[in-house]
Symmetry: D2
Subunit: 95 residues, 4 copies
């Protein structure tokens, strides 16, 4: 499918900024392992990255529901869109 979404420039910048911070945190974990840092400290950092990633995901999920899913519902094609939303919900919440 060549579906795509038009996000406003401001939202995009903000999301990318947060993902750059997450990218830096992932690099930080590499350094912690390189430096033989204490496992528990690394695990705390990994939990923080996962939580930050989930937050980005929740925002995309909300944005997606507000725009793509809502548009599909308004134009009478909600069923497929809701089924897809639920599938990604489940996958995301298990990750």
């Amino acid at each position: 499918m060549d579906k795509s979404t038009h996000r406003c420039g401001e939202d995009k910048e903000l999301l990318i900024k947060r993902l750059k911070r997450i990218e830096g945190q992932v690099r930080g974990i590499q350094k912690m392992i390189e430096d033989d840092r204490y496992c528990v400290d690394i695990l705390v950092q990994i939990s923080a990255i996962n939580a930050a990633m989930k937050k980005v995901g929740f925002e995309l999920l909300e944005d997606h529901t507000q725009h793509c899913v809502a548009d599909a519902i308004t134009s009478g094609k909600g069923d497929e869109s809701i089924a897809e939303l639920m599938k990604v919900f489940q996958q995301f919440s298990k990750s």
Copy 2:
């Protein structure tokens, strides 16, 4: 605390290799957002990153239990070590 852990070189290399891949995936998400890619596709990628991060975490958790926790138990100081393990496990499993 200045606790630290001595991991064998091979394990370290493998973990760092996987974290580099995750770092690349986080950069990939930035590009997907930049390119207005479909939300659901991005969310599937985010779920994949979280799953990969959890896998790294579980390995560190196992390594930590096999070495630090086991050593603490053997030398009669298991209580504190187990309490710490449980705390980080809870935090990790909620993330």
Copy 3:
């Protein structure tokens, strides 16, 4: 709020049937503890109950989105409904 939902009789019966099974499984855990059964076996059972509960939750979430949320969107009051959906989804996915 005195919101309520009209589910069809068939769906209700099915959900209640599954919840009765879960109720029985929770009673089973009590017996396992009473009988000093092996912790790991109990934990496997608890994981099964949580997974079954989540499945019931996901079905309610889908049903809710298909009806309440879709209706709210169609009648131009989607924003509040979607915000509520996201909040409960976050709470649910962390549980």
Copy 4:
């Protein structure tokens, strides 16, 4: 395997008391569905049950690590016990 665990009477009573409360909450969900209660309210309740179940699970996990796993480590048979702990950890944290 006929492994078993000896829990002290007090701990057992407490755990069973909490499981009885969870059992009552699962019955409460059935009534909420019977009465066509609002989906979101039911989902909030389901999240509460899952969180309560997880709490019971975490306590069993801690108890198991403090006793069975620690004993196995002390008697030089830690490897199998830790592998089993990690497996149940993963299953539990995904549920």
